[in-house]
Subunit: 219 residues, 2 copies
């Protein structure tokens, strides 16, 4: 069921081998996300990708290698989506609205069943695969906050924000808008992922607090 969806990142190559490889990656992604690392067995991946086990092991040397490949690809891919096409604040644009839109964009990408499940999976395997968790951290929160720090630095130089340490400000902004929905979805499951309207309200409240602390004293 659904084994023909070629949703994987690199869409290059369409030889038989490349096609099978993608089928394996897609199937493995689904099974690993559903059942976890230990809960997944290679026979199921082979069956779901409509490929023999031999072929699976021709493309990936072991269960562990396949797992690492998938998780690494997903984290990098998801991070890219968030950080492409970040517009600067226009000359006469509203700062508050600009920040809310940025927040919403990030929330919409991260609060997805797939990404949430990836997060849970990686966190549950921190002990077994510490390197994978480190990559998720750097491609996820760390990357987002580094980017934000740059934006805030610029806004501060334009006199629109009053910022002492851009890193800390970025962290505060990031978690003001992300933590509540992220933590809920993390522990309460995908059913607890808020609606778009709730996410907007959450973002607006977070931005309000952020601007109260870091906004230019509009006097």
């Amino acid at each position: 069921m659904g084994s023909e969806a070629s949703e994987n990142t690199d869409a290059e190559g369409d030889g038989r081998s490349a096609r099978k490889r993608r089928a394996i990656l897609d199937a493995a992604t689904e099974v690993f996300l559903r059942s976890g690392y230990l809960g997944t067995n290679m026979d199921e991946i082979a069956a779901l990708s409509a490929v023999s086990k031999q072929t699976v092991y021709k493309h990936f040397s072991s269960k562990e290698a396949l797992f690492i490949e998938i998780v690494g690809g997903m984290t990098t891919g998801a991070g890219d989506i968030v950080h492409n096409d970040v517009a600067e604040l226009g000359r006469d644009e509203d700062l508050s609205a600009y920040l809310v839109e940025y927040a919403l964009r990030q929330l919409t990408v991260v609060l997805t069943p797939r990404i949430m499940q990836l997060r849970r999976l990686v966190i549950g395997e921190v002990t077994r695969f510490p390197e994978l968790a480190r990559v998720l951290y750097e491609r996820g929160p760390a990357r987002a906050m580094a980017m934000l720090a740059g934006v805030f630095q610029g806004l501060a130089e334009r006199g629109l924000l009053t910022i002492d340490d851009p890193q800390i400000a970025a962290s505060h902004f990031n978690w003001l808008i992300m933590s509540e929905p992220l933590n809920q979805a993390m522990l309460l499951g995908d059913d607890a992922i808020p609606s778009q309207a709730d996410l907007r309200r959450n973002a607006e409240a977070g931005v309000r607090v952020f601007l109260a602390a870091y906004g230019r004293p509009a006097r």
Copy 2:
């Protein structure tokens, strides 16, 4: 190694049966935290608790039941530690310092290898044991924020804070001080748990932002 530590919550009862039961619980806690649910096997628990497998199954009907017992106990226990003896703000005490102390107290308890590992464990098993994750959410963040909301409500009525929605304010405070270190420790492992001094700096920065948004306009 360390199997004689009887650190479990309920210390009542010292009959032979009760002692063995605690030994099993302690051993199981250690093994589950170290190896995860699927990665744990009952033989190891029996060996570590110096008890026969038969005795293990006399006290707990299955691996699943034992797991639920342990995780449930740990979450409730940890929550209790944070929320005992919460002092009110004295008549002429500094609000900022009061909030920083509250934050530090909570950070110190939560950012412990054991608690962090418990969090990772439960998150990794959200799909298999959704009920357990829900309990962790309610005994952890939800409980802390409900408590905070009450405190803030009181402070607002005393004119020390300007608060619209105490729930949202509590969430903002909670995550301003917890998110950065919690997320780091979560993904980067126990070595990334910040020092007490760093935690204090983090708490002070968070409280500063919180008071800028919710503090009484001291003008």
